[in-house]
Homo-oligomer: 394 residues x 4
């Protein structure tokens, strides 16, 4: 595993747990973790349960006793690491967004397609697909339970930088993060809604905003935990915020649905408010991550006097992934989606399947992000999403 | 009162009730109701409690014993009736949207401004402003409880025409209704969010859609109650739907906020889902009409471990309008907003105040609707909202 | 109508509205209202829309132009007024609880039975039966949608006297009110749960408590609106609270269900928290008056992965009473239950039906209250509910 | 660890995770797991991550390389194992309920008190205390945020045996389980409410019921997962249910609060519905395990127009245990409470503290259960909870 901050901790919990909960044909060994700072990565290895540590990710790629490289770094290093790993015949799990540029993302998708031909698997970490309520939502939509899809409305609302004194962490710098709320959390709702609806966004009109344009330089930070007090320092030095604080866009999808999207870090009081509702001709589904063990389902084929949104508590054995966990009503948490992701990847590797979302899927999300940025940069005009090239999609 | 269908019934309930609940300097007399069909309007008068009825609205305008004309007809006749009434020195309450065209709306606003100079009052019926939870939301925002506004997200979701066999009622015909979901319910969330935020929309990018393009011709209908069975008839004759089923737009407001809006009649399972959330630098407020006696308030100045959305049950004596009603916890219903509207209008007439929303306010909403249509018609490009002309605004 | 405070206002709104909304064979005339204080009752008559007023309730009972007496006084005068009215051949609507003593209640039920034989109708005002969601709940249970009933849990939570300085209003005095939370609000959940379940309570074990035993004497008060500031006066004079602040009991019902009940005026933050849940062998229903336009229904016969509590928005035309009101999603309020009560009573009078709840039904509720008090007074021992005597029940 | 079914799996996840998430002075080694069936326990050891397995729990107690015995068996074997382990100087974590009889519980508490004097720690597994929202609720109550406590209402609602064909698993047999819903889940709400309120139950009046008195004999089952299909077998052989399906009781607490409790396995649609509300003179708190990452708090000292229940999303770094987990809004799940329990026990062992709940605390819960049973068996008469003997409490 490369990287050991927020995502690294979540992935580690998944690798530690996956064989304890699921019956799998392969057993995961947590060989080594990599980071830039020797002391920090050593501590992380001990803490998170990795057998070894290193500061040189290239050394991992060439080791014979490593089969899978898990890339949990910021987006600017994804392409280099993932492509090298794939070239070395290692399976790759790469955090989202796939890359910071379309060019890199295309290269990665091409590398993944080449590797796939050699039985080397790759997967992008859109973890929310593996929240059981989301997987169930996908299943119900695919089963036709809501009919023809008319509307999608998706928001991903956070509020961790509403304080203007919150420091200029890497997630607020374009060169490291690629974009702001858009790529960080907007990418999740793009992937999630496309996954659930089975439709792809074809065009957008968009609007982005940076409310706080200058922030104190940080002293140190990792994950999302950088607080003003810890990082703000003397407050004398500041720097420009080079990414969006919020991104809003309207979209059309290839199956006829129309959609609204909003990703923001300025929705005061909303901590991780990923909410999606889809309305179809026969019913609707709605999900709110702040209540991640619930799915709301409206069945317009029920007798009219008894229709309503049904709060399905997604904790039953016949719900996705849940037969392996606790009895009904005993909910699961955020990191379980990572364990489910690990389970599906391990199973795909063991059985020779093609795990999803593929790098090509993730490239497509990247192309939507790109269309959003282009629309926002050009007066919100309607902007078509570029196609994935045939050689890659194949 | 002119018109006696859905809006006419709601207004009648308000006029009957207003003096029974509120202490007012004037006592309302329900003199006469007007409609096109003699038999129907006679029955409506008896049912709704009007002393007389007529089929000639012009006769009402000239009567000395009538001081106020309440216009509850479809939008295509608003201008003619309201302007005639104002010219005759009658106070006017006009249902929204103010008119079907900008030209008419401008004339009405000009007529209202002239009449105002003579002490004749006019008001547009954006009733949701008078839902106590909305009025409270406005008060809290104006008091600075949420700080500087960053985000507005507003939806108005209905589902009464998802069935393709639902007939082509007047609300689906452009010549009578002006527009579809946009003018009917989108107008409400435009007015409501501008009212609550104290900011005005300056520009938009928009997308509209008509999912069902041809529908059976209706036999008869009124209000929203036209059902397929009642109206669908033989099903042989159909006609084109000439209005939008759904309208989506992004907006910027003059105080720096950015916003998303969605109005649709195809949100399966959402019956009258008017929802508004506003995020500011110090807190947030959220309202859902399906739970109209509640307001959610997030106070970011509370101790961090105790912050959360507070569900204020808006039924306390110190909440707007509610000291006149029932004890705490005994909620009110949809029509109460009309009674509150009647109360405020009667009070303004009695005391010489200027009731709001004025026709100029309603014109401004109309200009936003117009910008939405223009954007949607021109590739969703960014479209500025036209200014209200100086002579009118004054 | 006798009495014009909180209940009088709610009843007046119902009488004014019932013919405006419902098609009924009789038209209600609001002839006269009676109260003890001449000036106050005159003002109330003008305000609430009664043609005349009087301070002598006996004069109403003998008037030929009055057909129905509506008793809205405190419980200590119910028996005398209602029995006199019935004896005079007037139909009677009497507020709950039916009487302050079992003896009075028995006399009233006997008088009602005699009058019924002469075509004179009587009804007790358990208004919550006519909240559409409650009526729907009754209908679904009666239709077998939840199967055999196992559990009932009912609470009625208020908090209007948590302040020890709240004055000693009539509702806190045993001679006027009979009991405290028990008779005032506990009676409602007893009636409601028996109505919905179709079962009657056969025995109880109970616990009551008076948290604040001495309170300031009030200067004036009516309804529930007496506030400390308005009424507390100098604060020097106090008197003993002679009723319960809270009453808790467990019960068995004649159909095999077991139940918990709680009525309290000390549930801080709960304003009118009437909540009932019933669990059966095939499903469950749940209602919360603070969201009175909603009913939750769990259908255990649905596919297991799709089960959940369905939030039915009880605003559809095929829901009880609602075809007369607004379009779907446009909720109603507290007083509408009184209008529905008036509708059903008027219809019963017009058609010769027997309105429910009858005085015998109300007597049975009284007998449950009595068993609760006896159990609480005797170490919470199991206490059977006394039977209604055969002559009355017939 | 002795036992490896539902509780064993949850405890194993906790032991595996605790050092990966929390900084602790001791590092946990998962030495050995014990069960009755050789093959099954071997598989469980491999699956759950234990280094060794055995079928002889006594062998664990005498090993020098084992410091802590974790007892996850049914209640009938708790006393023997725990007392032997304590006598051997091993720290003990014992699942609830502490024992099946008061006599055993008293012996265990005495043994724990003796061991404590020698620095040997013991703790009973009332895991819900370590749900962060519950711990926060405790903290707020202790800090006086809700003032003097008036009311407690607690329910623990499940529905896993509503089907009469569900087999007669060990939890439905008195000799193994001690009691039914009462001891299994009623014990949790007794402990939780006493923990949160800081008050102890002094007396009760109770009612229990067994709705389904005869059930098919099971073929095999573990945890709560036994389903009819898996276990019902031929359906010819049945046996008597010897425990309660539901237990209801009212209680008084030593600080003046009054309370209602309900524990049932027949609340159709409620899967793990542990709900607690506490009303005090200055505010209220409410918790529902089905939304375990939320706490509702009503602050009656806020301005009256802004009061309401605040939904605190208990995922902030300054909430109990959560600085070790994920960013705000990223909720945790059921098993996390076990990890927190492990954390607190390990810390107490390392620092010489006395972990809670102690065996004496658990004995007191047992005494409440005993009073409930005695009351239910004797006509629901008021029944005092027996005191813990002085020698034990000390």
């Amino acid at each position: 595993m490369v990287g050991y901050a927020f995502m690294g901790a979540a992935h580690s919990q998944a690798w530690r747990t996956v064989n304890r909960v699921f019956d799998l044909p392969l057993h995961v060994r947590m060989t080594a973790v990599c980071g830039r700072d020797e002391a920090n990565v050593a501590a992380a290895a001990a803490r998170l349960g990795w057998q070894e540590h290193t500061t040189d990710w290239r050394s991992l790629v060439t080791r014979d006793d490593i089969d899978l490289i898990d890339v949990c770094t910021p987006g600017d290093s994804h392409a280099e690491i993932a492509i090298a790993a794939l070239a070395a015949g290692k399976h790759v799990l790469c955090e989202k967004p796939l890359a910071n540029t379309i060019a890199e993302a295309r290269e990665m998708a091409a590398a993944a397609a080449r590797a796939e031909a050699n039985g080397v698997r790759s997967m992008c970490g859109f973890n929310y697909r593996r929240v059981p309520a989301v997987t169930l939502m996908r299943r119900m939509v695919a089963d036709g339970r809501i009919g023809e899809i008319r509307h999608i409305r998706a928001v991903y609302l956070q509020d961790w930088i509403t304080d203007p004194q919150f420091p200029l962490v890497w997630r607020l710098q374009k060169d490291k993060a690629g974009s702001g709320a858009l790529g960080d959390i907007g990418a999740h709702i793009i992937d999630l809604t496309q996954f659930v609806s089975g439709q792809r966004i074809t065009g957008v009109t968009a609007l982005t905003e940076t409310f706080v344009k200058e922030r104190p330089l940080p002293q140190a930070s990792s994950g999302l935990s950088a607080s003003t007090e810890e990082n703000g320092g003397s407050g004398t030095a500041t720097g420009p915020v080079t990414v969006d604080d919020a991104a809003l866009f309207l979209a059309r999808l290839d199956g006829g649905a129309i959609a609204t999207y909003e990703a923001t870090r300025f929705a005061t009081g909303r901590k991780n408010g990923l909410r999606v509702e889809i309305n179809g001709s026969r019913g609707s589904v709605a999900f709110d991550f702040e209540r991640m063990n619930e799915l709301e389902f409206y069945d317009a084929t029920e007798p009219s006097g008894e229709q309503g949104f049904t709060r399905i508590l997604v904790t039953e054995p016949d719900h996705p992934y849940l037969s392996a966990w606790w009895p009904p009503g005993h909910g699961i948490g955020y990191e379980h989606a990572f364990t489910h992701q690990a389970r599906d990847l391990v199973e795909a590797i063991a059985t020779g399947g093609s795990p999803t979302p593929s790098f090509a899927d993730a490239l497509q999300v990247q192309l939507v992000l790109d269309a959003v940025i282009r629309s926002a940069d050009h007066g919100s005009g309607w902007t078509d999403v570029e196609p994935i090239l045939a050689e890659v999609a194949a």
